[in-house]
Amino acid sequence: MNAMLPPQLMTTPPLLTMTGLCRRYGRVTALDDVSAMVYPGEVLGIVGESGSGKSTLLRMMNLEDTPDSGDYRLALPDLPGNLFDLDRFARRMLCATRIGIVYQNPHQGLLMKHTSSGNVAERLLIAGERSFAALRARGRVALEASEFPLDRMDARPIELSGGMQQRVQLAKAIALEPALLLLDEPTTGLDVSVQALVLDTLKRLQRDRAITMVIVSHDLGVLRTMADRVMVMRHGRVVEQGLADQVFQDPQHEYTQSLVHAKL
């Protein structure tokens, strides 16, 4: 079997490379010289308490904000150079077509008074899809992959439960098969049973489509089940990073140890 293949001693190049990001909001330092790499097909978890800079970092990955300094590259065709140098239009196209995002608060990612299928179709429209039949069909595929019940596809998100709203966000995020999927506390505030279902959906997507993911969460349990590698942030800095099981079983930094010891 293929288990006997020689290992690749030369690592595959990262999909995402961020170097030296700094961002201050007034007197608050949100990011202090943060660098990160994400490799194709992996799940990177970012953990830290409120105000650690983890969500700011994710928003930078989604080009929603520009740092005071720093460099951001994605190893994708036709994307040379620092992505922070792109203008607003180019950023919007890139985010709509190559990067998907799921926010903790569905209100941030969805138009609550449009239908669920309409929310997904909006993404496809940006990418130039015009045929109504094709929009329906592709929307249906994305909703199905997110394990959204198709008989509710014309319901408005405002009529749906929190878990279902997250599935609509997910369908929208993956509709164009992005190279990078960003998730900001995707299960925070959901019942544990719903949380398990959403995590299972994410895991299945990752396995079947090999989507590269970055998950921000303050929940160590979520990252323990989902992430291959973990970055621990505090006060805008990365204090520790490593393989998920290593960071949780043998944390090196004092702060990470206190986090792991506080876990129920």
Binding site: N2, P7, T12, E42, A196, R229, G242, Q246
Partner: protein
């Protein structure tokens, strides 16, 4: 062919909240060839499991080297990049723990089939193979679609073993895989290990009752309370 060459390996845990470090082991030296089976011996708490986890890089060693040899060259697992370790774990280095780490709401047969799916084997074939292994380890048919989080310890361990041993790896780390197993499952496990050894899989194991695998053991290492080690031929 040498698979693993461990040189002067040492591990301590820095416990910041205690302001001290805990010594686990130091000066571990051994080599392991393809198809060889090495037994780690010693009383509870002497660091056998810690050594296995350090070899797997769940624990970070402070000193020494863990050279993993391939036809392409060697890589030091003590220092290799996380992505390289992740890749090796997916393809070549397996770890069998005493405890099942199950994701909630995933059926037993899907848990077992997952390594095959990750290796690119189609779903139907992967599931068929998973069922064969569940049957081999004595998991009852009506549990195959159930969620193992609610299984008894022994049944969980069988699912765990089926998953860990379904793909032949080059190096297998075994942390008391027979604990909490009934006689039938223990026999199935020993058969599978003998089969893997014959295929050239190198193994390092900790066993409560090494008698179960006595005929597989090529060498052993005795870990002692403070300083370690000698490499004794059996």
């Amino acid at each position: 062919m040498t698979v693993l060459q461990v040189e002067n390996l040492g591990k301590q845990f820095q416990m910041h909240h205690l302001g001290q470090s805990l010594h686990a082991f130091d000066s571990i030296n051994f080599t392991l060839a393809q198809g060889e089976f090495l037994l780690l011996r010693g009383p509870n708490g002497v660091g056998k499991s810690t050594l296995l986890r350090t070899l797997y890089r769940s624990y970070l060693p402070q000193e020494g080297h863990i050279w993993y040899h391939t036809t392409e060259g060697r890589i030091d697992l003590a220092r290799a990049a996380d992505v390289d370790i992740a890749l090796l774990r997916r393809r070549e280095i397996g770890f069998v723990t005493q405890f099942l780490i199950a994701r909630p709401r995933v059926a037993a047969e899907d848990i077992v089939a997952e390594p095959l799916r990750l290796a690119g084997i189609p779903a139907a074939e992967a599931t068929a193979q998973a069922r064969l292994w569940l049957a081999e380890f004595g998991v009852k048919r009506d549990l195959w679609r159930a969620y193992p989080t609610t299984f008894s310890g022994g049944e969980q361990q069988k699912v765990n073993l089926a998953r860990a041993l379904i793909l032949p790896q080059r190096l297998l780390l075994l942390d008391e895989p027979t604990a909490s197993l009934d006689a039938g499952a223990r026999a199935a496990l020993v058969r599978r290990l003998a089969d893997l050894k014959a295929q050239g899989v190198a193994m390092i194991g900790v066993f409560h009752h090494p008698g179960d695998v006595a005929h597989l053991i090529d060498r052993d290492i005795e870990l002692t309370a403070k300083e370690v080690t000698e490499d004794v031929a059996v």
